[in-house]
Amino acid sequence: MNVRVNGALLRFTDYRREIHVAAPTVGAALDRLADEYQPLRPVLFDRLGRLRATHKIFLNGEQLEAEQLGTPAGDADSVDLLLAISGG
């Protein structure tokens, strides 16, 4: 699937905005993305490995709740990873 990363997260993905990730579910794709871009892992996940509540995930434009990250997704799907606000 194609994962689109937004502005405040770009510095953690070497400024790549669209990244193709091969994974069976949205949650697995985020995990692989964090493997590929190590600085992204503490940004996306807390110490217990849970997705931080400050991120919003959209699958083909539809927002997913945390318990829906197991949703299957394929090559043609798009995932948007959005950070709502930062506290700088």
Binding site: A8, L10, H55, L83, I85, G87, G88
Partner: protein, 267 residues
């Protein structure tokens, strides 16, 4: 009694236009003054973020220019600044006077930071550790309500539309703060671009570039981030003997504007 700080800064030519103080410079000076007040009297902004997991994000602001202040008027500007908590810890408000005739006022929303390197956070009431840094006179239980929705409604219902325009932009890093999201004074700069483009092409709007700004009200709904694309959608009105520009800062996703600004000029 609320605590005020008073200090002077030297002027430089970059703070001014030929018409007076740059509005975006007033925002930057004012925000810096508020940071200085927090450090002196409460908790520094850096320590708030690093030690108290609390960020302040500007949500609403207003600049008033009662009389133009020009570069050749003086060697220095006097800044007076104070801060207060409002809405039972849901807002931090700062008030800054620059000289006798320029005032900036901004209301920030506290964020509870999640502790990650992106400084991500969610809106939350200030903790007791932060509230304890303010004097009783610096805590007002009443929340601030933005005047922007009412102002827009009045201008749109009673004003006469003079012109409309759209100016596209991309947010680059020099426009951002430490978290790679736009620094709030950039909204003032971007709407200036929208207004000036409109005024360049409509003779009747020349006071929008030939006279100094009298007042600007800003409401921030959602930030723009690094490399986000957007547009300033500007509408000029004749309203109550004033030339007024209502600017919606739209992301390419459409929908609710990420920010709204209302600029007022004498005609």
């Amino acid at each position: 009694m609320a605590r005020w700080d008073v200090y002077e800064i030297p002027v430089d030519t970059g703070l001014f236009t030929p018409l007076g103080l740059q509005p975006s410079a007033v925002c930057r000076l004012g925000f810096n003054a508020a940071g200085s007040w927090l450090k002196e009297h409460a908790i520094s902004h850096r320590t708030l973020i690093a030690g108290h997991h609390t960020g302040f994000v500007v949500w609403s602001a207003q600049l008033n220019f009662d009389k133009p202040v020009c570069y050749l008027d003086a060697d220095s500007l006097e800044l007076r600044v104070t801060g207060r908590v409002r809405g039972a810890g849901t807002q931090f408000e700062c008030e800054v006077a620059i000289g006798e005739a320029t005032r900036m006022w901004a209301c920030c929303v506290p964020l509870r930071l999640d502790g990650d390197p992106a400084l991500s956070g969610t809106a939350a009431r200030m903790g007791a550790d932060v509230l304890a840094a303010f004097l009783p006179d610096e805590v007002d239980p009443r929340p601030h309500l933005s005047p922007v929705p009412q102002l827009c409604a009045e201008v749109e219902s009673d004003g006469r539309v003079l012109a409309q325009g759209r100016t596209q932009f991309v947010v680059h890093r020099h426009q951002c703060e430490v978290a790679d999201q736009w620094f709030w004074p950039e909204a003032v700069s971007l709407v200036s671009c929208g207004r000036e483009e409109l005024a360049r092409s409509h003779v009747g709007l020349r006071s929008g570039i030939a006279t100094p700004l009298r007042r600007i009200d800003l409401l921030y709904n959602r930030p723009f981030f690094l490399f986000d694309e957007g547009a300033v959608v500007s509408t000029a009105y004749s309203w109550r003997e004033r030339l007024v520009f209502v600017h919606n800062l739209q992301g390419i996703e459409g929908g609710r504007p990420r920010a709204i600004a209302v600029e007022q000029f004498d005609r």
